[in-house]
């Protein structure tokens, strides 16, 4: 091999091997030993030392014969003994002097690591986005049912996911799933690391809610010993879910509106304006238009929030979806309580279908949860589904009771009630206990007390 070429290669830190026309290694330079390998000493086979060349024999021969200029492989990864990858560019050239060839190898680990870091970021970003979309789809599936009202709701959410900045107003009775819907809207439109902050405007006293929403600058009140970031600030770059917006006091309505319009907030006790970009998802079970008419809700805020409004359908209007949701809840509670209840009896289904569910999905969930706790068999029967309406009727009749003029023996009444509960429960003590709002043990104790067998 040309001595000048050898010098140049050494100066550029390029390792080289010489091989003959039978593809056996005949020589190598000192640098060649630095390449992690299975052994690439002279005398060995080139293809055993460089398995990367297996399959390219034709091309190799073409290079040796001068029919092809070179053969290159970029970024060949060889794990070093310490486990760290090292990367090499390989190039095969003809060696006129020997009728064989030269294989050049240049270590490019630094370059590869840069490229690795770059690609890693790029691909992870795409992956996160795709997984967010996927999660949005999964979440969408968590809105159960096929009734026209539910399909319509899903369609609207899908449309909304394409306008990630639009303000959304969720309307509907309590327990219809406004919370879940807000989450689906957020996740289907935002990158996975975007924050979603939730606050119930009816759950906090006025002075606290202001501090919660806007934050506090240290020293704003005597007891404000540290600055605190408000929820609107925390939600920057994501969404804030303002539940029960109808409960927000009028002065805060004005402050919220101005924050929305200017896209800036000021912490309590501070004059510094902080820019926040937040998607607003608000919800209420009140008739906001009526609230506006009654001057309990600011008209301008109403219009600012009512850009897109979704009305959640009440459970009683969903027909067969009631059963779909009920079965889903059954599966959920089976997992939670480690039970194997897998059905409702026909009578139970009938009861679920015909009740008017004033508390919507939340009430259905409570009702099934209660039934599951006491369930013994593998199916839930109608009497096990205790509906709030039933309870309400009972409460009314209790109020009607009064002590007769000549007095009453309380023990006799209690004994009578227990007997009646047992009868109604078909002598099943657990069920009777439930009808009386007693634990099994308490009931057993009273049965003994009143000598009931």
């Amino acid at each position: 091999m040309n001595p000048l070429l050898k010098q140049i290669l050494a100066a550029r830190r390029i390792a080289h091997w010489q091989f003959d026309a039978d593809l056996n290694i005949v020589a190598r330079d000192r640098l060649a030993k630095t390449m992690p390998s299975l052994g690439n000493e002279p005398g060995g086979s080139l293809l055993a030392a460089f398995p990367e060349l297996v399959g390219s024999e034709d091309a190799l021969m073409a290079v040796i014969r001068g029919e092809r200029k070179d053969l290159r492989l970029e970024y060949v990864n060889r794990n070093a003994t310490d486990g760290d990858p090292s990367y090499w560019h390989l190039m095969v050239l003809a060696d006129r002097a020997t009728d064989g060839g030269i294989l050049l190898a240049e270590e490019v680990s630094k370059l590869a690591r840069l490229q690795q870091a770059y690609n890693q970021q790029r691909y992870e970003h795409v992956l996160l986005r795709q997984h967010a979309a996927l999660r949005g789809r999964f979440l969408m599936d968590s809105i159960l049912g096929d009734s026209p009202a539910i399909c319509d709701l899903r369609d609207k959410i899908k449309t909304l996911s394409k306008v990630p900045t639009a303000t959304v107003l969720l309307l509907g009775e309590s327990g219809t799933g406004k919370n879940l819907t807000a989450r689906v809207i957020h996740h289907s439109a935002m990158p996975p690391d975007a924050p979603l902050v939730e606050i119930n405007c009816g759950a906090l006293p006025d002075n606290l809610i202001e501090a919660e929403l806007f934050g506090v600058e240290k020293g704003a009140f005597t007891h404000a010993t540290a600055s605190r970031v408000g929820l609107l600030e925390e939600a920057a770059g994501g969404s804030i879910f303002l539940d029960e917006i109808g409960e927000l006091p009028l002065n805060l309505q004005a402050k919220l509106l101005s924050a929305l319009e200017s896209k800036t907030i000021r912490r309590l006790g501070s004059n510094r304006a902080i820019r926040v970009n937040v998607r607003i998802i608000a919800a209420t079970n009140r008739d906001l238009q009526a609230e506006v008419a009654a001057q309990r809700f600011r008209e301008d805020l109403f219009y600012r929030l009512n850009v897109v409004s979704l009305t959640m359908p009440p459970l009683r209007t969903l027909g067969e979806d009631i059963l779909t949701i009920a079965h889903h809840l059954l599966a959920v509670f089976n997992m939670e309580f480690k039970k194997k209840v897998d059905a409702f009896t026909a009578a139970a289904e009938e009861k679920l279908r015909h009740y008017h569910w004033p508390g919507n999905v939340r009430e259905l969930s409570n009702c099934i949860e209660r039934a599951m706790i006491f369930a013994q068999g593998t199916a839930i029967d109608a009497p096990e589904l205790i509906l709030s309406e039933g309870i309400r009727v009972a409460a009314e009749s209790v109020n009607d009771w009064s002590v007769p003029a000549d007095g009453i023996d309380l023990d006799t009444v209690e004994r009578q009630l227990i007997l009646s509960a047992l009868e109604r429960a078909g002598r099943n003590k657990s069920k009777a206990a439930r009808l009386l709002g007693l634990s099994r043990d308490t009931l057993r104790y009273r049965l003994e007390k009143y000598n009931i067998t």
């Binding site: 293809l47 297996v54 034709d58 990864n77 795409v126 795709q130």
Partner: protein, 209 residues
């Protein structure tokens, strides 16, 4: 049929990379030929579908949840179980040279050099990302244009996360038909079907006859 001796001649030294050696058969009484053949196969697919994980599972029986983008190419080797050669007393053992190739943004000479001389390929899509199959059709076409005779197996990976759905099942089916390839769903995480995919590919390559 055993590859002919002329393949090992000087004019074409290692066209089939054959090293044959004598080995005592299990019966102990008889000598028979054991022929080891090196075969190059490639893993194809866009980024993060599980190419590296599939190799790690198959060759090293391990799995890593963390995603580390592959750069360039890494060749791993795995010796397949010996196979009988029909009508011959010799046995053949395939030494797979498995090319785990980084996802490429474009098809150029670099990619062509990676694909050259492969006897087969496993083309993977990610069952949780339906669009990863859309990109496979083009990748497979490029691969076939460089290796027209190469065998292909289509794989939907990450079955532990998601079974094929209406979208992905159709995509996989279409790819299988377009390239005349068998299709599998696998999980590099659980190991489900991973060995089966490689065995099937070796059979599809028809080695050594």
């Amino acid at each position: 049929m055993i590859p002919k001796a002329k393949s090992i001649g000087k004019s074409h030294p290692v066209a089939l990379s054959i090293c044959s050696f004598l080995q005592i058969s299990q019966s102990g009484a008889m000598f028979c030929f054991m022929i080891a053949i090196k075969k190059k196969i490639c893993l194809l697919g866009t980024f993060a579908v599980g190419k590296t994980s599939t190799v790690e599972r198959f060759v090293y029986s391990r799995f890593n949840e963390r995603y580390l983008t592959t750069i360039g190419v890494r060749v791993s080797q795995k010796l397949m179980p010996p196979m009988a050669v029909p009508g011959n007393s010799a046995k053949v053992q395939v030494n797979l040279l498995i090319w785990d190739i980084a996802a490429m943004d474009r098809f150029d000479a670099v990619v062509e050099n990676y694909y050259r001389g492969a006897a087969g390929a496993i083309a993977l899509g990610d069952l949780t990302r339906p669009d990863s199959f859309g990109q496979l059709a083009e990748i497979c076409s490029r691969f076939r244009s460089i290796n027209p005779e190469a065998a292909l197996v289509i794989v939907g990976n990450k079955s532990d996360l998601q079974p094929p759905n209406a979208d992905t099942a159709v995509e996989i089916d279409q790819l299988a038909q377009q390239f005349g390839a068998p299709a599998f769903t696998t999980s590099a995480k659980s190991g489900e079907n991973v060995d089966a995919v490689f065995s099937r590919l070796v059979r599809e390559m028809g080695a050594p006859v």
